[in-house]
């Protein structure tokens, strides 16, 4: 299991960093829908009376979307893609959309743009969970998260480009700030590897903007709220206390106790005098910050309260949470009303005039009637109850069967989502992955092309898994997770280069039998083909493919120090066509995720890569593979084995020593080898045929470990074809199918850690 938290943890530079990881995300063809739960919402009211309102949604799928809201229609008008983990919260600061994520960053976007990230604020060292903006001071935004980190940002100042850095390299303007905040940057760029003198240049960029830190939280912060002028900030979290801060200085004002569990939602009235809090103890509390005390507690929910929204006058509160229910409560009379019940826990809400948008752990978003301007109207319909002030009162009431009937049965508008993937199984061939989504649909993906190859519908995942079992053994060249609701495939060097297949298995016409394909290399080429094409176009004559690109030069410096680099036999063709079996769809292009360098991690669709991306953001091994066709030496692509006659068989002993062959070598090749040895046994070995060097090697007694290459049987077979005896290969007394690979025999038939022993016997001719 990988650790999400550490992926962007830039401040942790004392530990030796591993090689960077490369990830790609398989997107659904429908780009206008979220494919995981929606964590957050924000409504942008149109400035003019006839203009559209907009809704912004931030999802666990890592993207944000903008929706143009008509009266009874809604359409997706932009996708904001750059976060590499869950988007946890979103606020509008004027025209700037601010989002935060479990990738530890806060990102800014022009809210009406086509979705380009304008800035990555890389100050947090753990998940950023919540944001709060000052309504009347659109510059001020606060961010809070795990580890108790809370920062107050002046967004305008943060967006001002930093003066050009000392380094003349094309560093995009987002670098200086991070360097200033985290003096100990991880040194992972290509240039730094090549030359130590560059390191100081990066870290010396200490000028730039730093946010105000609200220091003093002992535990994680799960909720924030700010008053409209941006002078007051309230925070809550697992410490179970409400902390009030001066947002201009980060100084502590007070600490208020009352809740008995995590505080998950906070609201401040415009003046900053009253505060509402929702907690995992299932209570809503109203605090008078002037009097520094809790003035009301409302037992409305039967489980954790995760979301709060108030009417413009702060007279009523909408609340939702783990109990799937949305309540409206009159803060003064304590009357409460169940507005609707959902199928999923409620995560956040946003009012739009008389409607309320509700985000849940489902990928769809619904709009419900709410009468925000005149909440009293809903109460007139009856069915309200009086909120108690002890947490168990509601639980007891619902146990006694007095569950209120929701006022609204159906949402007035729905933004549909795609069911997210919740379960996955990598099949034995390591190219196919069986998935199951929240709707119960089971699909088969081909991850080297990024497409669904089979949709089985609603069937049993476990049964399908059994049915698709194949007795093959391929090294685990990638790892996978589904936290984004879709498949994320992670590649790490050197283990990602451990899986090979024969080209003939892909039905590549004209390919000779021996040509092997490295799954990771071809996948990387498939993913980066658009980037390479754009890069070539951009550089034109300035850069040749293998020429003086600073990075590739440094890569070669690196390779000198790294003695175990194996140049692939296809090196000279490394920019050749992408194999059709590794061609990723352009209709639903996957996105790539890189841990980035000092600009922070980012994510982009492969078709949106325009060649301007900083090469330092890609792992060096990944560039070395696609640009130079080089891969680190892989140790486990070979398999050692003994070849012995069957017990009781009168077949002659061919070799005493240990043989070595590619793991993927098929048993039929071993059959051929045995035939060749038997038939050619007395025939003098043609010394000029390099294919047979292994024979002389053994004969000379120089090496006990001879190499059984794939090319060993190319020649000389035809002449004695008619004499060809029938040979059977056995392992553990089991006759092997000619299609099996050595790795498969080892994994499923031999099943021992020792070197594989194969036996052969001659079949009688009829």
């Amino acid at each position: 299991m990988h650790r999400v938290g550490s992926a962007g943890n830039a401040s942790n530079s004392t530990r030796p960093r591993k090689e960077k990881r490369f990830t790609y995300v398989l997107n659904d063809a429908d780009d206008t829908k979220h494919c995981a739960g929606v964590n957050c919402l924000a409504v942008l009211k149109s400035q003019s009376s006839d203009g559209d309102d907009y809704l912004f949604t931030g999802s666990r799928d890592g993207t944000l979307k903008r929706w143009a809201l008509g009266d009874d229609s809604v359409s997706c008008s932009a996708t904001f893609e750059s976060h590499i983990d869950w988007v946890n919260d979103v606020v509008l600061a004027g025209d700037t959309l601010v989002s935060c994520s479990s990738d530890t960053t806060v990102k800014t976007w022009n809210c009406l743009s086509d979705g380009t990230c304008t800035r990555t604020l890389h100050q947090h060292s753990d998940y950023v969970l919540c944001l709060s903006a000052a309504d009347k001071n659109s510059n001020i935004v606060a961010s809070g998260g795990l580890g108790g980190e809370v920062f107050i940002w002046d967004i305008e100042a943060a967006l001002t480009p930093v003066a050009k850095s000392v380094d003349s390299m094309e560093e995009d303007s987002s670098n200086g700030m991070i360097a200033s905040a985290n003096p100990g940057l991880p040194i992972t760029s290509l240039r730094s590897i090549g030359s130590n003198s560059n390191i100081s240049l990066h870290t010396s960029q200490t000028h730039g903007y730093s946010p105000i830190a609200a220091k003093g939280h002992k535990e994680s912060v799960y909720a924030l709220a700010m008053n409209e002028s941006g002078s007051l900030l309230v925070s809550g979290g697992t410490e179970k206390v409400l902390r009030v801060w001066d947002a201009r200085t980060g100084a502590k004002n007070m600490k208020l106790r009352g809740h008995t569990d995590n505080i998950r939602a906070l609201l401040l009235d415009p003046t900053g005098r009253f505060c509402l809090s929702g907690s995992s103890d299932s209570m809503i509390r109203l605090w008078d910050l002037g009097q520094q005390r809790c003035v009301h507690s409302y037992a409305v929910h039967t489980d954790s309260v995760w979301a709060l929204a108030s009417t413009p006058t702060f007279s009523h509160v909408y609340s939702g949470g783990r109990d799937l229910s949305l309540y409206l409560t009159d803060l003064a009379t304590r009357e409460s009303l169940l507005l609707c019940t959902k199928e999923h826990p409620i995560l956040q809400m946003a009012l739009q005039d008389d409607n309320i948008w509700i985000a849940t752990t489902d990928s769809s978003v619904h709009r419900w009637q709410a009468e925000g301007h005149n909440p009293q109207k809903v109460f007139e319909r009856g069915g309200s109850f009086l909120a108690g002030n002890l947490s168990f009162t509601r639980a007891r009431a619902s146990l006694e069967g007095s569950t209120p009937v929701p006022v609204y049965k159906e949402p007035s508008l729905t933004i549909p989502g795609i069911p997210g993937i919740v379960q996955h199984k990598i099949l034995n061939n390591r190219r196919h992955v069986l998935t199951k989504d929240t709707a119960g649909f089971v699909k088969l993906w081909e991850i080297t092309r990024g497409i669904v190859v089979e949709d089985y519908g609603k069937v049993s995942f476990e049964e399908k898994k059994e049915e698709l079992f194949e007795m093959v053994s391929v090294p685990a060249w990638c790892t996978m997770d589904t936290r984004l609701g879709c498949l994320s495939v992670h590649l790490e060097s050197p283990q990602c280069f451990s899986a090979e297949m024969y080209a003939t298995d892909f039905n590549i016409s004209g390919a000779s039998e021996e040509v092997k394909i490295n799954l990771a290399q071809e996948t990387l080429r498939g993913l980066l083909t658009h980037w390479m094409a754009k890069r070539r176009q951009r550089s034109g004559s300035r850069l040749s493919v293998n020429g003086d690109v600073p990075s590739s030069k440094d890569v070669s410096i690196r390779t000198h120090t790294h003695s175990r680099i194996e140049v692939d036999d296809g090196a000279e063709n490394h920019n050749a066509m992408v194999h059709p079996s590794f061609e990723f769809s352009t209709d639903s292009p996957p996105s790539i995720i890189t841990e980035g360098s000092h600009g922070g991690p980012w994510r982009k669709k492969i078709t949106d890569l325009d060649g301007t991306e900083d090469e330092k953001d890609f792992p060096w091994w990944c560039l070395d593979c696609v640009l130079n066709g080089r891969m680190p030496l892989r140790e486990n692509t070979k398999c050692s084995f003994y070849l012995q006659p069957c017990e009781g068989s009168n077949a002659q002993v061919l070799t005493q020593g240990k043989l070595s062959a590619p793991r993927i070598l098929r048993i039929n090749k071993v059959v051929n080898y045995v035939i060749e040895k038997i038939v050619l046994d007395k025939v003098p070995v043609d010394g000029s045929n390099s294919e047979h060097t292994f024979v002389s090697g053994v004969a000379a007694g120089q090496s006990q470990l001879s190499t059984l290459g794939d090319g060993s049987f190319r020649s000389g077979l035809k002449s004695w074809q008619k004499l060809k005896p029938s040979i059977e290969i056995l392992c553990n007394n089991q006759v092997l199918s000619p299609e099996m690979s050595l790795a498969t025999v080892r994994a499923y038939i031999w099943k021992k850690p020792e070197d594989l022993v194969l036996n052969y016997r001659v079949m009688q001719h009829n």
Partner: protein, 371 residues
């Protein structure tokens, strides 16, 4: 002779109150085998355990060709003690100690050994032997096994959803000492609670200065947050999230063995140090941090005491309650002590104290219930 004198002294002290059929025998020390002697005395006076062991001995002694193992050696020893003509005296647990050294090289040297390590090894070894015997018995008549499966079926499905075939055997050792802990983890994002059960034969508790068993048990069940680099992978969220974890006792054992972690590894010194903290252990203990709200009540019947100031040397003795009398076992010697003397083994409130006799392993028996 010492042995005669001790015996008579104890007999005299008890007079006509000497319990019918009970035997109080010291155990000879074979060179630093006090860790073994002290634990054996505590186990001997764990009456349900002794009775079941003797019953086992009675059922199995006729099987002449049975291989010698720790279980047969222990049963032999217990039966030897209980069948002595004299009421007091000294016995040499020679065969048992030899067997122990054969089984585990840890105990082979003449070095000072950890009594808790020995107890844990012994109980697990007994369980292994009983399981092997049961498997061997089951192995031959295969047809009988399905019936037994059904008999234990419901327990299995409750404890572990995927436990398909390998029904863990509940031996009489388990019935005495085994309890179930449940490890509850709550994801702080979706607030889903996942519980995982694990069995235990004894509880090892971290200790603090001037504390009590009750407070140590409370700390044992206190909440721990999984965060930062140590997040919890939540199956519901499909991702790493913060989580709160705590241990609760789901099924309290019949015999509750509490091991006080008095030997603590001090990183700066890169060696173990003995903590002489005063930790009060009551004669009667209420276990309140159980999953079911019903409290379990226990009474103290044996204490293994570590004597000495360091972890690598010192001595072990045991205090045993038998028929309402407290007895003090120090290898060959057996004495009667007053119940009030038990509190002198709580530990010391000051770091350097002349009293270095500290309660180390506590044996409690649940009362009002039969195993």
């Amino acid at each position: 002779m010492v042995m005669g004198a001790t015996g008579s002294k104890l007999e005299k002290a008890l007079g006509d109150q000497f319990p019918e059929g009970e035997r109080y025998f010291g155990l000879e020390n074979f060179g630093n085998t006090c860790y073994c002697n002290s634990v054996l005395q505590a186990l001997y006076f764990c009456v349900p355990f002794r009775e079941q062991l003797l019953e086992y001995y009675g059922n199995n002694k006729n099987v002449g060709d049975a291989e010698e193992n720790l279980l047969t050696c222990l049963a032999d020893l217990f039966s030897q003690i209980s069948s002595q003509k004299k009421k007091t005296g000294v016995i040499a647990p020679k065969r048992f100690v030899q067997r122990l050294k054969k089984e585990n090289e840890l105990f082979r040297s003449y070095m000072h050994q950890d009594a808790h390590e020995f107890l844990n090894f012994l109980l697990n070894e007994l369980v292994d032997i009983l399981e092997k015997e049961s498997n061997a018995a089951k192995g031959s008549p295969k047809t009988s096994s399905p019936r037994e499966m059904i008999a234990n079926g419901p327990r299995n499905s409750q404890a572990n959803g995927n436990g398909v075939q390998k029904e863990p055997l509940v031996t009489w050792v388990h019935k005495n000492f085994q309890g179930i802990l449940t490890n509850e983890t709550k994801c702080l994002r979706c607030e889903t609670v996942t519980a995982r059960d694990e069995t235990f034969l004894d509880l090892s508790l971290d200790i603090e200065q001037n504390s009590s068993i009750t407070s140590c048990l409370k700390n044992f069940s206190s909440t721990e947050t999984l965060n930062a680099e140590d997040k919890f992978f939540c199956d519901k969220c499909c991702s790493l999230q913060e989580a709160q974890k705590r241990m609760k006792i789901k099924k309290p054992p019949h015999i509750l063995v509490i091991h006080l972690k008095r030997f603590k590894y001090i990183e700066q010194l890169s060696r173990h140090k003995k903590l002489s903290y005063r930790v009060v252990f009551p004669l009667e203990l209420k276990l309140s941090n159980t999953v079911e709200d019903a409290d379990s009540e226990y009474s103290l019947f044996a204490v293994v005491v570590h004597v000495g100031s360091g972890p690598n040397h010192g001595h072990y003795v045991s205090l045993v309650k038998s028929h309402n009398h407290w007895l003090f076992f120090d290898d060959e010697n057996v004495e009667m002590i007053d119940e009030s003397a038990v509190q002198t083994f709580f530990g010391s409130a000051q770091e350097y104290s002349s009293n270095t006799d500290h309660g180390y392993i506590l044996f409690y028996e649940k009362f009002g219930s039969k195993s």
